[in-house]
């Protein structure tokens, strides 16, 4: 089923255009975001939509699924012009969009969510037994062993994603649009998702798949459409494209150098030393040293305890044991305030949930972590404005209007602002958790170079990332965690994907002690 041979469009299946957008234009107020974009979704094909943040991908798929109306242009479904007045009209025609932000009712159970608004009834009452059976069937198709009676709030993000997909399947989606579905999934979960996508494709579902991740597009898509600045650049079979080609089409220029230069052996004295740190049920006996001017990567599968370890270091999580030394002196870090005083800063991976105040403008966001720098009694607004000026310059934050809410910014600009916010405290050690999640390739490269600049200035960086190229491209050394333990710290030639996977799965290195809850 998943063989590369079947990957190309099945020849004996009649290739048939299901849904097309023709010359779609879209303006919001005076700003035009789509210019004459056309796209065809075929039955039995995975079509990838690629573009930088702000290229118009989300707007296009919202038009295709009825959430927005095109300013001009038309939709064609099975050869006949069609208009979806709202998303419900789209769904009635089998067009289902799974949003980047999940839309599930947290307090309801899995089965209640799957059948939300379309409950199966017997007479006047809900037919819970049938719904439960159906839900269980859908979930088992997805190899998702979640009990339909579980509440959404008790599920991991990746399980929630699977529930969203199960919900779409239950609506008999035959045109399925996935907006960056893997942003929150781990490698194994991505594999399961891909199997499901392939299975649906082979059943004749037309799939539109949006992603920044070029690897994924190579792996899953048959054709790719590239958007840039709201314009259609090209639509081509993926087989003929290399990742570099796709990146170039997307960015519109060559990315000269994705990663900053690493000069080996430039690391200085030990800046941070962690000894035998444990967190109940999550981290066991972790020890490592971080040198000045180095990037120490932390690799591992989701749930290996990397974030828990970092949060324990900066005082956001309770340690059950362990010592921390800064420049050789023991320090007591019991809160983020303590960590800040020790010159340690933490960049959260959840920039929307715990990084930025989305309903506020840039200025208060930038200075929030280092507020005392701008006046202890009265905040000096001029100094804040000046800091913002400097940050916009230094981190190349592109905001049309400084007064607009940061929630309206693209992911890339939000990430740059978050980086700027953390740097306001002038830390010596920066812990960065997933620096480029959901960010386009051009901005990614910029962020990598910012990280390179930090180390050139003698600062130390701890990098947590689930993206292997970024881990290998940035890190001087890579600590690998599995089941709450550091199973090895890889240097030099050992710093490769194969070794990382061996350590992450516990095949080699210090035995990953299973962690008991």
């Amino acid at each position: 089923m998943t063989d590369a041979a079947v990957h190309a469009v099945n020849p004996d299946q009649q290739v048939r255009t299901r849904l097309s957008g023709r010359q779609i234009c879209k303006s919001f107020g005076s700003a035009q975001v789509l210019f004459d974009v056309s796209i065809d979704l075929m039955a039995g094909e995975v079509h990838a939509l690629l573009g930088e943040n702000g290229a118009g991908k989300s707007t296009l798929v919202k038009i295709l699924s009825g959430y927005h109306q095109p300013s001009s242009g038309e939709l064609v479904l099975d050869g006949a012009p069609v208009a979806f007045h709202d998303s419900e009209a789209g769904e009635n025609h089998g067009v289902i969009l799974i949003h980047q932000e999940l839309n599930l009712a947290e307090q309801l159970t899995v089965e209640e969510n799957i059948f939300l608004g379309r409950e199966i009834k017997r007479g006047w009452f809900l037919d819970k037994a049938t719904m439960r059976q159906e839900a269980a069937k859908l979930l088992s198709q997805l190899q998702c062993d979640v009990d339909p009676k579980t509440r959404i709030r008790d599920l991991s993000v990746s399980d929630r994603q699977m529930v969203e997909i199960a919900k779409a399947l239950s609506k008999k989606a035959d045109i399925l649009i996935l907006d960056e579905p893997t942003a929150v999934l781990s490698g194994r979960e991505v594999d399961i998702l891909f199997d499901q996508i392939r299975r649906l494709r082979d059943q004749g579902v037309a799939i539109l798949y949006i992603s920044h991740k070029l690897d994924e597009i190579k792996a899953i898509a048959d054709r790719v459409t590239v958007l840039r600045d709201g314009r259609h650049i090209t639509t081509e079979p993926v087989a003929g494209l290399e990742k570099d080609d796709m990146a170039r089409l997307m960015v519109g220029r060559d990315i000269k150098q994705m990663f900053p230069d690493r000069t080996p052996g430039h690391a200085g004295d030990i800046a941070l030393s962690v000894r035998n740190l444990s967190v109940d049920g999550q981290v066991r006996d972790a020890s490592f040293d971080l040198r000045r001017g180095e990037v120490l990567g932390f690799a591992g599968i989701v749930g290996a305890g990397r974030t828990a370890l970092m949060e324990a270091i900066i005082g956001l999580r309770e340690r059950s044991s362990g010592q921390i030394e800064r420049n050789g002196n023991p320090v007591a870090i019991n809160s983020l305030q303590d960590a800040k005083k020790c010159g340690i800063a933490y960049l959260t991976k959840d920039r929307k949930g715990s990084g930025l105040l989305l309903n506020m403008e840039m200025r208060p966001n930038l200075t929030l972590l280092a507020l005392e720098k701008f006046g202890r009694v009265i905040i000096d607004r001029k100094a804040e404005e000046a800091a913002l000026e400097t940050a916009i310059e230094a981190f190349d934050i592109r905001a049309a209007d400084r007064k607009s809410k940061v929630g309206d910014f693209s992911g890339g600009n939000q990430q740059k602002l978050l980086l700027a916010k953390v740097m306001e405290t002038d830390p010596e050690i920066v812990i960065i958790d997933e620096p480029t999640r959901g960010i386009d390739i051009g901005t990614k490269s910029q962020i990598y170079h910012f990280i390179g600049d930090l180390t050139n200035r003698g600062k130390s960086v701890i990098l947590l990332s689930s993206e292997m190229p970024e881990m290998l491209g940035l890190s001087d050394r890579i600590a690998v965690m599995a089941a709450g333990c550091i199973t090895g710290i890889l240097e030099g030639n050992d710093r490769n994907e194969h070794e990382i996977m061996r350590h992450a799965t516990g095949i080699s290195g210090k035995q990953g002690v299973s962690v008991h809850e």
Partner: protein, 337 residues
């Protein structure tokens, strides 16, 4: 071309922001015009002084509530707290007459007691909700009942009356004036200015905004979330105690019906003023205007026979709903999807 565009846009966005900020103020002006049209006595010095003096109680409490609500909390206990503090002040001052006499010292001790109780009660609300991790709504609903029943207990179901001589000494705090401006109005103004500075210009105020808009972000921004939230309740308690200090000489008594529904009037004033109930955005001047509006409505109904005075609450309720609807602002661009 480019700069022209920018000027245009900033001009137009400047207008909308002004409209939003001035909304409550414009509504108040409208009410004043309406009041004058109904009865010319409305604009008389005596009537205006009356409006502002009465607005001072709710207004001072509402300034405190602006902090609590901006930081994402709620305090339902303020009305009962005011009643309880009034009762405690009267009991203590009456007792002191025997030893200290009915002098200024007695009143001062009463005032200090009020502040201690207000700050203490606020701290209890804050600490129980933050350290005990209980919703502020539940905690203050609980303390609301507790304070209310304590004052009923102290008054033995009846009314506590302040010693007549002490009342004479204390009287100027409510009935006195400085340069023709009633003392309560001056205190209201001072509290509002202090509140404005604290909320808009200090790190503390900024932290209130941050916590109200996203507590998790605040926590990841090295803000002592529990401490700041508790402080907002302490500020609220302090405001209640100041309002009570002015209130006690007005009637010189306290009973189980003192301060009933003040919490809702205070919250209403805050919301009419443009502060968001879910937190993250607060406006002290809006609150001040909101408090004056609520009092003005009652006053206008007193001056006219068109609507029964008994419908005061209905009109206030209507105004609250309309004010929030207008402030949300999407009634204007509803169709431009």
């Amino acid at each position: 071309m480019n700069s022209l565009e920018r000027t245009e846009r900033s001009a137009s966005s400047g207008f909308t922001i002004d409209f939003k900020a001035l909304g409550p103020f414009l509504a108040l002006v409208g009410l004043f015009i309406l009041g004058t049209a109904i009865n010319e006595a409305f604009l008389s010095g005596g009537n205006l002084a009356n409006i502002f003096t009465r607005a001072a109680f709710i207004g001072i409490i509402a300034v405190g509530a602006t902090f609590v609500i901006t930081a994402g909390g709620i305090d339902l206990s303020v009305g009962s707290m005011a009643a309880f503090i009034s009762g405690a002040m009267i009991v203590v001052m009456n007792t002191l007459v025997a030893t200290l006499g009915a002098g200024i010292e007695t009143v001062l001790i009463g005032v200090v007691l009020s502040i201690v109780l207000g700050v203490g009660a606020g701290a209890i609300n804050g600490l129980v909700s933050t350290k005990g991790k209980i919703e502020a709504f539940i905690v203050t609903l609980g303390t609301m009942g507790i304070y209310r029943s304590l004052v009923t207990y102290m008054a033995d179901g009846g009314t506590l009356s302040l010693d007549f001589e002490v009342r004479g000494v204390y009287r100027p705090v409510y009935y006195g004036d400085v340069l023709g401006i009633p003392v309560p109005v001056l205190v209201f103004f001072a509290v509002a200015v202090a509140g404005y500075v604290l909320l808009n210009m200090t790190p503390f105020g900024r932290k209130c905004f941050a916590i109200g808009s996203n507590e998790q972000v605040a926590r990841y921004s090295a803000i002592h979330v529990d401490r700041v939230k508790t402080m907002t309740y302490v500020i609220q308690g302090l405001c209640v105690s100041l309002a009570t200090i002015i209130y006690v000489p007005r009637l010189g008594s306290a009973s189980s019906s003192t301060g009933v529904l003040w919490e809702l009037e205070a919250i209403a004033a805050v919301i009419i003023g443009g502060t968001m109930l879910k937190g993250g955005y607060g406006r002290i001047w809006g609150t001040v205007v909101g408090a004056i509006m609520l009092t003005t409505i009652g006053n206008i109904l007193n001056l006219t026979d068109a609507i029964s005075n008994y419908l005061n609450g209905a009109v206030q309720g209507l105004i609250i709903i309309v004010a929030v609807f207008l402030q949300r602002g999407d009634w204007r661009r509803k169709k431009s999807k």
